[in-house]
């Protein structure tokens, strides 16, 4: 089992289109004035000044697998038909986690309390999309290394809380990735804080998959 790789500052392009889409913007339908656009862009800019993307990833071999169970080389087992199906014949997986940090969440909280919801909702959307994009970045990072081994990550990612991959697994991933080192906590209900924190599992394969990406839980 390889050691955890920590990314203390993930530098990504702002996923502007995804942020607007998350807020309900529909190209060709939604009409938005210049002033409104500028204000929203100011909010996005403010969000970016508060977001500090950090992440972690770890490559782990699979010891055994069946149609509903995956046993990792460290003995930990994940029970999920959905995850098993996605992993397919992969012999290794990558566990990954990322967070947008505390500051943006504090600001959303402050905006909510001050009834500044318009800004709060934009901060919320920016943080969600940025943390999601940071997982894409982690995938790109591992893919770069894997390319030399003629391997790559599955296009799909799977998250605890999705389908039959129960949320309790989030604690297992949390512990393996030592996510406390990047400022993430987990509570007794297996919810991660800061709120905009995510974890996911992807398989390492030697052939491309055409399937789409599964959702991640927040």
């Amino acid at each position: 089992m390889k050691s955890v790789i920590f990314f203390d500052s993930i530098n990504i392009s702002v996923p502007g289109r995804e942020i607007f889409r998350r807020l309900g913007y529909r190209k060709g339908i939604t009409r938005i004035g210049e002033d409104q656009k500028e204000l929203i862009e100011d909010y996005i800019e403010y969000a970016l000044s508060l977001i500090h993307l950090r992440g972690a990833g770890r490559r782990i071999s699979i010891k055994e697998k069946s149609f509903s169970n995956i046993v990792l080389s460290n003995g930990i087992a994940f029970k999920s038909k959905g995850l098993s199906k996605m992993i397919g014949d992969c012999e290794e997986i990558i566990l990954m986690g990322a967070t947008a940090g505390d500051d943006v969440i504090e600001s959303i909280r402050g905006d909510t309390e001050a009834n500044q919801l318009a800004r709060g909702v934009v901060l919320d959307a920016v943080a969600s999309e940025m943390v999601d994009a940071s997982l894409d970045w982690i995938v790109d990072y591992f893919n770069r290394d894997l390319r030399r081994e003629n391997k790559r990550l599955t296009k799909n990612r799977f998250s605890a809380g999705y389908g039959d991959f129960i949320l309790e697994n989030q604690k297992v991933i949390y512990d393996i990735l030592q996510l406390e080192r990047i400022g993430i906590q987990i509570n007794e209900n297996y919810i991660l804080t800061p709120e905009k924190s995510v974890t996911a599992v992807a398989g390492i394969q030697s052939r491309f998959s055409d399937t789409g990406r599964e959702s991640e839980s927040e």
């Binding site: 530098n11 807020l23 909702v121 770069r144």
Partner: protein
């Protein structure tokens, strides 16, 4: 002959040819998947030696040792600890395979971990990891070093510093770029070049990732700023999937066909990466052996860089602004944050200054009674990742400057080095070692000279000393020394004379810390702006100022046009077009009726305008109730319709709702007679259920309900069923609205409803949230609302 001289001599005559791929050749020749190539080569030395020999036979001048992953991090994963010895053995294998007359390059690849500030690997630890490898390679007799396939500029810097601190051997650094022309960490080719060549790389370039056609574009971005030879080591085309294998399909002839264009575009050192073979290199040698390489176009470049951006100082460029805000002097909040190790304000100031037009950021963290070196390191780490602007390191402490320069993943500008004997002795070698530019402050141990003539002498003296450390005029920015006009009326003129002489006679970049000129006088911004315009005309390159001051930036923009630094006045027009439009809009609005304006203001969600427009309507004797019934409610209803049709999206809906709320609060004193309507509609209790901490969606619903005349009691998030029962007993609501974002917490909605029913309490339930469906709502005996607008509709159906 010294190998460095030998390489430079070859480069004057013809391109230097590197070998091709090692990894894909090893796979072809039997290396199984999943092993460490370095360990496998030590166990199967004849295979790697055969590859080295084949490349030599193909005509390569330089053979890379098979040590790409031979650092302690990667070898450690296979249980290997004697890293130095392994590197030595692999270097000797290469030497024995090709003999003495071929150049052997000690190959250093990435550790696989990210270095601070981008990862958790401590910078000094990274330097030590690479030193351990480099020492082993030295013992194995390598002639030069190559640091390759780097995606993190900071890791490339750590490796380069490691090599440079143990040897002066010729060192090549090549980064690897993604399809968008940046490294995975966001560094573009020009920024990487400026950073690495100033840090002492003897050649810089790119390898892997792309085929030759794409790599030519990367080289084209570097050549204008290159002071060192450029290197290209492309793959044999872009990777393609055949069956379950990634293959590189470009045939040797086609690959070599790009050789001449590479040389023409400015590549001096050329080889092959993944998928290339000895045949590719043979064809390449034949293609370019008689080509004359294009020497670097510059001896020095006046430019600084961050990890993602380069700022070049050239005559006729717009005047550059160094944002001065990150300086705790006189800023109590910033002082407290820095002392507490918090960085929210620093990050905010950086981004605000960038947005307002700063080109560089000055970083001064001198707080009394603090560990300035530690704070500087933290701020450098933060800003390196949080801002794209290159940094100006501003500290009187040599130790602080050294710590900052070592850590900063770019080429920094040091603020400043003066003629003071003690400091100049320490600071010049430091700036030279890390390749920084520096601001030359024309003062010395005798103090600040009043006259331009004396300042010129100090400038010449400091420059003479700097030249001994390899600095050129392109590496220096001269401070014109701004003194206060209120204490010496001649002072600004002496500063202007200094600037003029530096720009036109000495021919060097210049800077002014402008605001000092106006100290002690009222309305300082005008003096600062006027002084800026005068200095700009004398040739000033950059000014340290607050880009947030509109008047100052406007004068700067205008000055750029008037002295031909803003061709076609494009920046000027862009800056002021919006002001013209605002003026026109205001004139139109004044001619429109207040009722129409109130409708528009709510439709546009303009919170800042609603109060004054309602006041105007009340002055015009329009009754408050009429404003609400005939204008505001139709306006917010229209907003709801637009949102339903997706012509509006969420921020517009909320902005309008908040404007409505503000308007209603403003009219409240005039509406007191009509309380009964709201009371009749009943109370709505709203919360996010237990276990769920998401509440922004729920708050939007509360706002929308409130605006539509419902009395809403918001209990917050993570609320237990017991607490909800308690609140129902207290408020007797007509509706309880429950929200949940996750499937795991959604089930608590049912628990709430069951608990309330068990207590025999009467109320309606409305549920919503990302994962909630109409089907689920019905299954637990609740009504479903998909969003805030729908919630109003559902509530009205239930209650009215």
């Amino acid at each position: 002959m010294n190998k460095k001289i030998k390489i430079n001599n070859i480069l004057k005559r013809r391109p230097l040819v590197l070998d091709g791929a090692t990894g894909t050749e090893l796979q072809k020749r039997g290396m199984p998947p999943g092993v460490s190539p370095e360990i496998w080569c030590l166990e199967n030395p004849h295979v790697i030696q055969e590859i080295h020999y084949d490349y030599r036979k193909s005509g390569a001048d330089v053979i890379y040792t098979c040590t790409f992953g031979a650092n302690s991090v990667k070898l450690g994963q296979y249980g290997v600890s004697n890293v130095g010895e392994r590197n030595k053995e692999l270097a000797l294998l290469a030497r024995h395979a090709v003999g003495k007359n071929v150049l052997i390059a000690g190959d250093i690849g990435p550790t696989g971990r990210f270095v601070k500030p981008f990862g958790d690997l401590d910078f000094e630890e990274a330097v030590n990891i690479f030193k351990e490898q480099a020492r082993g390679l030295m013992e194995g007799g390598v002639d030069l070093f190559v640091i390759e396939t780097m995606m993190d500029i900071q890791e490339a810097r750590a490796a380069l510093i490691a090599v440079k601190e143990i040897t002066d051997k010729f060192t090549i650094v090549t980064m690897t770029y993604e399809k968008d022309g940046h490294t995975l960490n966001g560094t573009d080719p020009a920024a990487a070049l400026v950073t690495l060549q100033s840090l002492g790389a003897d050649a810089v370039g790119c390898n892997c990732s792309t085929g030759p056609a794409e790599m030519i574009q990367l080289i084209a971005q570097m050549k204008p700023y290159a002071t060192v030879p450029l290197v290209a080591k492309p793959n044999a085309g872009m990777p393609e999937l055949v069956g379950d294998k990634t293959v590189f399909n470009m045939q040797p002839r086609k690959f070599a066909g790009y050789g001449k264009e590479f040389v023409f575009r400015g590549v001096n050192i050329l080889g092959g990466c993944c998928g290339t073979s000895p045949d590719h290199i043979r064809e390449l040698v034949e293609e370019i052996v008689n080509e004359k390489p294009v020497a670097p176009v510059r001896k020095a470049v006046s430019a600084i860089s961050s990890s993602s951006k380069t700022v070049v100082f050239e005559r006729n460029n717009p005047l550059r602004i160094i944002g001065e805000r990150i300086n705790p002097t006189g800023k109590k909040a910033l002082q407290e944050e820095l002392l507490a190790g918090k960085m929210v304000l620093v990050r905010k100031m950086a981004r605000e200054q960038e947005k307002k037009g700063a080109d560089l950021l000055d970083v001064n963290v001198g707080v009394p009674e603090s560990d300035e070196k530690k704070i500087m390191a933290e701020v450098i780490n933060l800003l390196s990742a949080a801002s794209s602007l290159p940094l100006v390191i501003d500290s009187p402490s040599v130790k602080v400057v050294e710590a900052a320069l070592r850590l900063y993943p770019g080429r920094a500008l040091v603020n400043s080095i003066s003629g003071e004997e003690k400091k100049i002795k320490k600071l010049l070698p430091l700036a030279a070692k890390y390749g920084a530019m520096f601001i030359l402050l024309p003062l010395n141990d005798r103090g600040v000279p009043e006259k331009a003539k004396e300042r010129k002498e100090i400038i010449k003296e400091v420059f003479r000393k700097a030249q001994k450390h390899g600095f050129t005029k392109d590496d220096i920015v001269i401070d014109g020394l701004v003194m206060t006009v209120s204490s010496n009326p001649q002072a600004p003129l002496e500063t202007l004379k200094t600037i003029e002489w530096c720009s036109h006679s000495f021919k060097c970049c210049t800077v002014l810390g402008l605001t000092n000129v106006s100290f002690g006088l009222p309305e300082r911004k005008w003096l600062n702006a006027a002084f800026l315009a005068m200095a700009a005309e004398r040739g000033l390159t950059m000014a340290i100022a607050n880009p947030g001051i509109e008047e100052f930036m406007s004068i700067k923009t205008a000055s750029d046009v008037l002295i031909n630094r803003d061709r076609d006045a494009s920046r000027y027009i862009a800056r002021f077009t919006k002001t013209i439009q605002e003026g026109e809009k205001k004139a139109i609005r004044e001619s429109v009726s207040s009722s129409d304006e109130i409708f528009r203001i709510i439709l546009e969600g303009n919170r800042d305008e609603i109060e004054s427009m309602l006041a105007r309507a009340l002055r015009e004797s329009i009754p408050a109730q009429k404003l609400v019934d005939d204008i505001m409610i139709p306006a917010i209803t229209r907003v709801g319709d637009l949102f339903d049709k997706k012509e509006y999206f969420l921020p517009q809906l909320i902005a309008s709702a908040e404007t409505m709320k503000k308007g209603l609060a403003c009219l409240d004193p005039y509406l007191r007679n009509d309380r009964s309507a709201q009371e009749e509609r009943g109370i709505i209790l709203i919360c996010t259920v237990q276990g769920d901490v998401h509440d922004i969606g729920k708050n939007i619903v509360a706002l929308m309900l409130n605006n539509n005349g419902f009395e809403v009691i918001n209990l917050g998030k993570d609320v237990s069923a017991e607490k909800i029962v308690e609140e129902i007993k207290r408020h007797r609501p007509a509706i309880v609205a429950l929200s949940a974002l996750m499937t795991t917490t959604m089930v608590n909605m049912k628990k709430v409803i069951d608990t309330v029913r068990n207590e025999s309490l009467e109320c309606n339930f409305m549920v919503g949230g990302a994962v909630v469906t109409e089907f689920y709502a019905e299954s637990i005996g609740a009504r479903y609302a998909k969003d805030g607008v729908d919630a109003v509709r559902v509530a009205k159906k239930i209650l009215i």
